[in-house]
Structures are given as C-alpha cells and as structure tokens.
C-alpha cells in the first residue's frame, strides 16, 4: 500500500502534554489523537464550525483519510515505533540490554522488521542517546529539557517561578492514508496553516511551530498475513475485541477540551493501544465520544494498520 508521508522540520521546541496539570511533563512524539485535534482546530477556524461538524460526521462513519502519529525524523532519516512483536537480537549481552530500551527504528530497519520479524543489530547502529537504531550515524532523536518560567507581579515585581518541560526535535514526520482524493486540497491548506498555528501546548509562547519540508509517497513491503501493526494510537470498537490477540501496550489519555465554543470541559479518560502494537486481525478503531457539551467532542481512535509478519 502507498501512503503519503509529510516530513516536517521543527522550528521551535514542542510541549506535548501528557498528564494534565503537570506542565513539566512532555511526550517525545506527537500522538495521532493530538495531531488530529490540532488538525480539526485549524480546520474549524479555516472553514467554520459547520464544515468541521460535517468532517467529524464523516469520520464517525467512513473516514476520508487516516492519520498516523508524528514520529521523530533526524536529517531525513524517518523513525518508526519498534513493532511490539519484533525481535532485536545480538550476541553481545551489553548490547542486548540496550536493545530493550529502543523506542524507534529507522525506516530501513522498520521495513525489514515488518517483513522478517527480527533483525540482527550491530553495535554501531544504536543512536548515541540509546533511544533508536539506524544504519546511519545518528546522535540524538530528541532532547528533553525543563525550562524555568516566571510570572511577575504587576505592582511589586515579585516573581513566581514555575517550570515547563519541552522537547526539541530535529524533525518529525507523519503518514496520511488518503482514502478520498477530494479532500487533499483542504488537508494541504490546513497543514499549511498549522505551520503557523503550532501543535501541542504553550503554542502562544512559540512552542510547536514547524515547516513542511516535503510531502512524498511511501510504501512498505507489507506482509499479506493477517497480522497488523498500528502507527497511530488505537481504540478498538467493542466488537473488534472478540478473539483478538496481540503484542501491545496501552496508555490512558485524558485532558481538557480546547474549542472556541466549549470551555472548561474535561475529556473522559480513555485507554488506548500505543503505536507499534500488533494484533492478529485487521484493526479499524473509530472515533470515541469523550465529552458532551454545546457540541460533542471526539477522540481520534482509528488504527493506521500496516501488515506485518506474525511468527517470531
């Protein structure tokens, strides 16, 4: 299958909140649900509330396109989450320990992993920060930092100190599976405006801004087996769960609603499978209603399925 991949160059640090109320914490990639909300918010200010409602309506029945999460990219090398069923092996025991902590693998290795299910890792492939493996020499996939910030009293100039976590990328990339070609113009425009709007938190302080480097096609040598990996956060529908088996991890997502129409509303907690989880059937997922108010609020829970090898 062919997908579109959008490579972006990050201009400023990102703040991708993980736990509400904790400004210090940030994720080190952009989950698909965050990316989709960012997309919807810009879509809404571009085309209006009614158009967004129509788009969401389509998504609840038949999605016109699918989004993956945005993963790190360094100097043109794209990284993908390590498939949870894959085996990274080596003879070296010290290296074997390091391999347990690998979160991302380069495009080349990812393609090999979904085809073969396992790979013999060489020592020099591990990136300097130990977060990923690539055949190219790569220092760091991202840098996390805590930055001091301050509120100054308007009368006394007394300072109130607090901290904010941020993550600095070299670049990011995400995939789009365009099912309805007619949508491409709107998608393109929205992503262009997103460049100047930003993704994630603390945007008006300059966080989360980026520039599109290029949009191109990408193809994986997908296995024709019945096993699939998801490149997005995935929330299965109830009926999908029957007889499902897999290799996975899950995460609880929460947070507050951000919308010009709706204020101070909390999203319901939702447990989702993380990127790289592998299941033994065609996974779909869907939109999940997480808040009700002046308008309904949905969380994007579609899987971004890639066929992978099952036996390992």
């Amino acid at each position: 299958m062919k997908y579109k991949v959008c490579e972006i160059e990050t201009i400023t640090p990102f703040h991708i909140g993980n736990k509400e109320g904790s400004l210090e914490e940030t994720l080190h990639y952009v989950p698909s649900d965050t990316l989709f909300s960012a997309f919807c918010n810009v879509y809404r200010i571009l085309y209006g509330e009614d158009e967004l409602k129509k788009l969401i309506e389509e998504f609840t029945t038949k999605p016109p396109f699918l989004l993956s999460s945005a993963f790190p990219a360094v100097n043109g090398t794209l990284f993908f989450p390590t498939p949870k069923n894959s085996k990274l092996v080596s003879d070296d025991e010290i290296l074997n320990k390091k391999l347990k902590k690998i979160e991302f693998v380069s495009e080349e290795i990812f393609k090999e992993l979904i085809k073969e299910g396992k790979i013999e890792v060489k020592k020099e492939w591990v990136t300097v920060d130990g977060k990923g493996i690539a055949k190219e020499k790569i220092e760091k996939l991202w840098v996390e930092k805590e930055v001091a910030r301050v509120t100054i009293d308007r009368k006394t100039n007394a300072s109130q100190l607090y901290y904010q976590g941020e993550v600095i990328f070299n670049g990011l990339h995400f995939l789009i599976d365009l099912k309805d070609e007619n949508y491409w113009k709107e998608i393109e425009t929205t992503i262009r405006v997103m460049e100047h709007e930003g993704i994630g938190g603390e945007r008006t302080y300059g966080k989360g801004l980026f520039k599109i480097k290029k949009v191109r096609d990408i193809e994986f040598n997908e296995n024709k087996s019945e096993w699939f990996l998801t490149l997005s956060m995935y929330c299965p529908k109830k009926e999908e769960l029957k007889g499902i088996k897999g290799y996975f991890e899950y995460i609880t997502r929460g947070g507050w609603v951000y919308s010009p129409e709706e204020k101070g509303l909390r999203k319901k907690f939702l447990r989702m499978f993380v990127e790289g989880s592998v299941f033994n059937k065609k996974i779909v997922g869907g939109m999940v209603k997480v808040a009700e108010g002046r308008h309904d609020v949905f969380r994007y829970g579609y899987a971004f399925p890639i066929g992978v090898k099952n036996e390992i």
Binding site: E49, T204, G206
Partner: protein
C-alpha cells in the same frame, strides 16, 4: 464576536538587539567548580536565547500598565490582569491579543504567538569574544557593600553581551476587522519594551533591547490555499522600527485586505 473564522495571519519578523548586557535567568544554577551563580537560559545547543514567554509576558505586562488594567488575579505571589466577564473582555485589547485561561467561557483563541528568539551567532564578534568569559556570554561581578562595616558581599551574573542580536518572529491571527486595527497595540507593546527592559536587573542597566529591521507579512486564507506563503512581500515598506510603525500604522493597515 460570534463566529471565529480565520481571515489570515500576520507574520512579524526582525532582529532584537541587546543594547546593554542581557540576563534572562534559567533558574537552574548548577553547583560546579568554575560555574557561574546566575546562569542565563540557553537552548539545546548551549546558545543563549530569548524565550517567547519572556518577550510575550513582558509586552503583556507593559500594555496592561499602559492601558490602566487592574491586576485582579493572583498566580501564587504574582498578581496580573485577566478579564472577569464578557463585557470587560470585549473592550480589553490586552486579553484579546495575549489570551485568557482556556476555561473562561467567553475566551477566544489567543491572537498573538511569540516564538523563541534565537541568537544570531555572527553578532558576537571575535573582538567581543576577547573580553568574554564564555563562548557566548560574559560574567559580570557585582557587589553589595555593608553600609557600616564596608564588608563586601560579591556575586556573579552571567549575561549576554551588549551587541548580541536575536532573530524574532511573531504570528498574529486575524479573525475580524477589529483584529486588524488591534495589531497596532502589538507594536505599541514593542515600543514600550524598548523603553523598559527584558530579563532581570533592568533598573541597574541590564536588558535594554531594540527592535530592528522589522518585516511585516500579511498571509490571507487564500494564500494558504494556494501555498503562496514563501514568496510574500512585506507590507510595511521602509517602516522598520516599532516607533515608525505605530506612527504611520495606517499605511500598513491599508495593506491588510
């Protein structure tokens, strides 16, 4: 305003020049041998920068004072102004431009985005480096003298040297005709900042900054649709300082269509 629809964005770019030593603290003073007591904030590459939050916060606070807004909300020890109701908000340019906490039910998307301003490396010349203690910063010693015993109590401050320049960028969202007029206040904030200071110890001469070579771009919704953002021409002509822009704002205003 009932409907929030994007008409376009205004991009403001230019340089910030430190005219006196600039000390924006990082708070995280590490205890190292040979380390400085009060380090400045640095980016991932170890270069000092001006955080967007410092720039935005300072402009907000100065505009609040300039337009006589009452500090009514406490954030810990600090009191700042945040509109309490919709009527007040409709008239408050400060809260419209700089934003409100998201949970206020009358709040709208924040108009202004201020990016971190990164150091222009060439602005620190080799000649300057000769007198500096670190690659990008100088260390200034300060002292307090006991009024009776004359005992000294010295301390050290790290600063970005005078003459350093930073690239800044701001993005201003335009949702209505009113927003186009309110843009003037952004430049007013910059003008006020030039006569105030950035960072710490401003009453002792630190942190005088100047905005130079300002370029203002108007990117309409249509430009985004056509993907013609890169080749945009600036709309401020030779008006390149906040002062000139505020003075002749009408000339820029008429280019925002």
């Amino acid at each position: 305003m009932e409907e929030i629809n994007l008409l376009g964005k205004i991009i403001i770019r230019g340089k910030i020049k430190a005219e006196t030593g600039l000390a924006i603290g990082s708070g995280g003073g590490k205890m190292e041998i040979g380390g400085v007591d009060n380090p400045v904030i640095k980016d991932a590459f170890g270069k000092p920068y001006i955080p967007g939050s410092s720039l935005k916060g300072k402009m907000r606070s100065l505009l609040e004072k300039a337009s006589g807004k009452k500090p009514n909300v406490s954030l810990g020890k600090a009191r700042i102004h945040i509109c309490e109701n919709k009527e007040e908000y409709q008239k408050c340019i400060v809260c419209k431009i700089f934003g409100l906490p998201g949970e206020k039910d009358f709040s709208e998307p924040t108009r202004l985005i201020v990016r971190d301003a990164f150091l222009i490396e060439d602005s620190i010349t080799d000649e300057m480096r000769k007198n500096m203690d670190f690659k990008y910063t100088e260390v200034k010693s300060e002292n307090v003298i006991d009024r009776i015993t004359s005992a000294a109590n010295p301390r050290q401050m790290e600063r970005v040297p005078a003459g350093a320049e930073f690239d800044f960028e701001m993005i201003y969202n335009v949702f209505s005709e009113e927003d186009k007029n309110n843009l003037k206040d952004v430049f007013k904030g910059m003008e006020l900042l030039e006569h105030d200071y950035l960072g710490s110890s401003g009453s002792r001469g630190y942190g005088k900054v100047r905005f130079e070579g300002i370029k203002v771009y108007w990117c309409s919704k249509e430009d985004y649709e056509k993907g013609k953002i890169e080749e945009k021409k600036e709309i401020n002509a030779e008006l390149q300082t906040p002062n000139k822009i505020v003075e002749k704002f009408e000339e820029i205003r008429k280019n925002i269509s």
